[in-house]
Symmetry: C3
Subunit: 342 residues, 3 copies
């Protein structure tokens, strides 16, 4: 029996060239159906994404799709071309949400290779890509990520190109959705009274609740983004018989949990960085805490909070051990900007 | 590390005042997405909520959202303000659906405190609220529930106010959706031939089927209503490591199962009372049976059946033991009115 | 306590008459909500059903609902009348998709009894039905299936009528959706470069990925089609305490997995035959492979591939043992036509 002639095995390190742009396959129309699933899979409660009437009172035409729905969809599109043979997802930088996405719009995505560096072992290399998402052709998201990708076969290293990446998106580069205005913001309807000035840099917020994760949930979520990386679905893919939970599932869990204490941080507009510190598996009870890293006032009564959003397997607590490594119960260390009434 | 300064712990008994009205947070736009999930999570088949064409033939503009979608959404909104520190959900009364809710409408909710009585122990008290739901501002649901809520600290009891509640909603107070007419009702399409006059008071109907419940299902359902009570999601919340299933999940399971024998009891219009007799956990196989308690003719070929809807963990059978207590396999004892062709 | 008076037990073999047409209950409006769930429950990625913009570029008004959403909905409607007392689902034939179905349309279904043959044991018989589905009244699907149904009581055999069924739908009988044109087909967006002429009769395609199935997933899927056959939901229904997974769940899993290698086989238009070779249970890891059985050119740059789509519990491999029986790890052997750019 023949096999594999029609199915590509994904790209390997030696298949990437700095400067090339890869158009990702399978455009995806997102609707209120995907939103309903998002709200069933995560305890998402931020009012701007939950309610058309609340969004209208904030100057928008309707509730835009949750920021992370857009992220996961664009990310999922990139998986077959970028990370099918990845050993590790190493980091994110310079992520910006450029436009709200409305139900009924179709997402397409592409990635530009902006860096390559082969490991000294010669068995793998690091690939940096700037991935761009479009909604009905309009830019809606852009971010850099870098992954370690295996070589198909040993070979000469390409010239190393390591991009210079901003440590964080500057507040002045944050894109506020057109029309957004927090002048008439209803804090009671939003769920908490805290505005920008109520948060202090260095403040830590425990998001209190925990969610024990089930296999069916993370697989449904990951499929919804048409992310088909085998390790998330096939219990025979790993020697230990466990399915590795898509790192983005943990991001969405942590973000949704952050409603407790950050209910007014309505929408994520930038991803400054992030590390999936340890793998997450079904049965884990995920909790989250945040640290306020920075604040900015953007006008129209809109402020921005730069947040470190941490997901843990246990209680909220320390991030790193004495040696500076992530503690074993830390799952995620994300650095992002979110908009909040000023 | 600081903690909890931004996250409220919910109200305690001493925080309620008779006469105050609490606006609940996070308005929620309900769509065909939430309906699809409802039909994936429960074996819901009543034709009026399943088919636009069937609903049109009954005089409505389209299929309204399932009555219990509206109930769960309104209930979920009330949880952070009413039952976050509740020890027990004690009862329901005077529940009435006041208007159909259509896909695309936004639900808001508020609760008026109508009764308070501190327990003699001084550690907790009973809070009665009348919760009202609105769809795009239009009243769509109203019901009374009472819960036992812990005190934060011991203290003097407030003056006891215990509301007088109707034993059941009078048939003359039932609200028939505007335009509804069962004159041209198609019993074959609805699935069963039985009309109002085919049901006798005292008759018992075994709904036959059973559903074994999974953790992922009840958590997705409960999240969908933005009900974030910790015991439903966090396996570490209880000493026995089990997640308590939201009582409303059992209501919806039983109502959906009741299609077998009550396929023409198309829509619930009143909740006269209800008790969550025993807790339900994943792995339980839920069955249901109903008893006809009363009948009424409302005109336009529309009748109403008052039903006791019982969910059990085992076979359909007796409700109470010789001492009058609910038998251990009884999960739910609900008293409601539903509309049926006369 | 009375029981069962209001709930039918379904039809038995002696209740069918050749020539009668049974209208199935509960019309169902399908929306983008059902589509989102389909894409969460299966790794479905065929671009025509995923993206309005891709579908428009192929001459359609928008992305039609996935072909198997329509199949499962029509099939589910027929279960209470045809297979509630079935011992086995024996086969399919002459299945044709007659029109795309668009979000918002309402599905109704009916079945005509076209054959009956009592077994020599006198305890059961085979019932052949031609089931027809309609979308807002327009024919959208037609197929024959035959099932073995128990007799309620022993009795005289009806005259045996065994329909003559086509071994496969002729290519000239395939219905191409009105307006479909693959002239400007974008292979990069679709995900693979292979067109009709790239596939050879006899070629075998391993679809590579595997999915480990969870109870919550197959139950949600099966409920979504309002298919309430007890064995799929009630862990107490079988002596071994296992829930039998709806055969259609395996069909959808295999079809979605077939994206790897058949990404351009955009939509199924005929079901020539099929066997659920062995039962599937939660915990099984489902894989799939296809064999090209035939090819045809239909005009407008549209071709058709006749495919044997096989789902297995283990690795892709042989279909039958030396004695000609399905090997124990084979779950599904489906014979269908799908449209692909010529």
């Amino acid at each position: 029996m023949t096999s594999g002639a029609k199915t590509g095995g994904g790209r390997f390190f030696e298949d990437y060239r700095v400067g090339e742009t890869i158009r990702h396959a399978v455009p995806r129309t997102l609707t209120v159906g995907e939103r309903a699933l998002y709200h069933a899979l995560y305890p998402a409660r931020h009012a701007l994404h939950s309610s058309d009437s609340f969004a209208r009172a904030c100057g928008l035409a309707a509730a835009p799709l949750d920021d992370l729905i857009v992220f996961h969809t664009v990310f999922g599109k990139s998986v077959p071309d970028i990370s099918l043979n990845a050993v590790a997802n190493l980091g994110y930088a310079e992520g910006r949400w450029l436009s709200p996405v409305w139900p009924g719009e179709t997402i397409t995505a592409e990635s530009e290779v902006i860096g390559l560096r082969q490991l000294s072992s010669g068995k793998a290399g690091i690939v940096w890509v700037r991935t761009r998402g479009f909604a009905d052709g309009r830019p809606c998201l852009s971010y850099v990520r870098w992954v370690m990708v295996r070589r198909r076969a040993p070979g000469e290293a390409p010239e190393a190109v390591v991009p210079e990446l901003a440590e964080a998106v500057a507040a002045s580069d944050l894109v506020v959705p057109e029309g957004l205005d927090f002048g008439g913001y209803d804090f009671a309807l939003a769920g908490e009274p805290h505005r920008l000035s109520d948060y202090a840099v260095g403040e830590i917020i425990d998001h209190v609740d925990g969610v024990t994760v089930e296999e069916a949930e993370h697989m449904m979520a990951t499929r919804l983004w048409q992310n088909t990386a085998r390790v998330h679905f096939d219990a025979t893919a790993r020697e230990d018989g466990r399915r590795l939970i898509y790192g983005g599932h943990v991001i969405s869990l942590a973000r949704a949990l952050s409603f407790n204490g950050l209910a007014n941080a309505q929408t994520i507009v930038a991803l400054n960085g992030g590390a999936h510190a340890n793998p997450c598996f079904a049965g884990d009870t995920v909790r989250a805490w945040s640290e306020v890293l920075d604040r900015a006032n953007l006008g129209n009564d809109i402020g921005a909070l730069r947040l470190r959003l941490v997901a843990t397997r246990g209680a909220a607590g320390q991030l790193r051990d004495d040696a500076g490594a992530y503690r074993p119960d830390v799952l995620l260390d994300l650095d992002c900007w979110a908009l909040i009434p000023a």
